[in-house]
Amino acid sequence: MKVGIVQFPGTNCEYDTQHAFAELGCETQILWHKEDTIASDTDLVVVPGGFSYGDYLRSGAIAKMSPIMKALKIYADNGGKVLGICNGFQVLAEIGLLPGALKRNEGLHFISRHHHLKVVNNENEFLRFCKTDQVLNIPIAHHDGNFYIDDAGLKELYANNQVLLKYTDSTGSIDNPNGSVDSIAGICNRAKNVFGLMPHPERAMESLLGSNDGRAMLEGFINA
């Protein structure tokens, strides 16, 4: 299983992500943003968290113009699997691989803490080892995680089972930290090969460090 991990200037979760997938037995490779091809034997490309280009203009806006993103668009359009975590989710929304946009958190604060998430739909490769309504404990760390989509777009997300994760409390009741529409924390595209979420599953790989709930999420991609 080969995992490519995209690196922009300002990315800061690439090595955590690399460690997480190495733990799961994957061969990993960092893909510098100036590269313009993605090897055809790559099984998954992760756009990791961080602050690509300092979040200048808008989070993810400048990153979407880079050569690796043009290659990633082609890779995804051909059915390649892509996961965007945090800033990676913002980049994927900016380039249009995922619907909607990520706005400034409603309370205007950067939020960095563990948060609970509820699995809304597991009929996809990402969450196939999680149960519907299962509550996961995963860290969040973002300033612009306020997911926005218009009413028509939201309806379409539900109709196609593209809403994957919602922010909740430990009992699974909605607990929205950032103002996201319907408390949405993670979605996928219609074809279910591009996934994006604001929380950081790669930071929840060891119970010693607070939670290992991220493991079940990332394992979904292994030998899928």
Binding site: L57, A61, E94, G100, A101, K103, R104, N105, L108, N146
Partner: protein, 80 residues
């Protein structure tokens, strides 16, 4: 030629920063303020002589990069 681009959140998309500024102003005695919107201004210097061509190029820049049209509107003003 100079292009002034103003980018704002669309009507109907909650402008949290605008709301925070509104509350701060109201709390400091500016009771007549009824709404505040916070946006950004991008000033572009261009080697263009034709105003229409310049405006067209800047509109393209807005669609490609300067604005996220899912949540933002933009206005372009060209100055000679």
């Amino acid at each position: 030629m100079k292009a002034i681009v103003n980018v704002f959140l669309k009507n109907g998309v909650l402008d949290s920063q605008g709301k925070a500024v509104l509350h701060a102003l109201s709390g400091h005695g500016f009771g007549t303020v009824s709404d505040v919107r916070v946006g950004k201004q991008i000033i572009i210097e261009m080697n263009e002589s034709d105003e229409t061509a310049a405006k067209e190029k800047v509109a393209h820049m807005c669609e490609e990069l300067l604005a996220n049209t899912v949540i933002e509107d933009y206005e372009i003003e060209i100055q000679a």
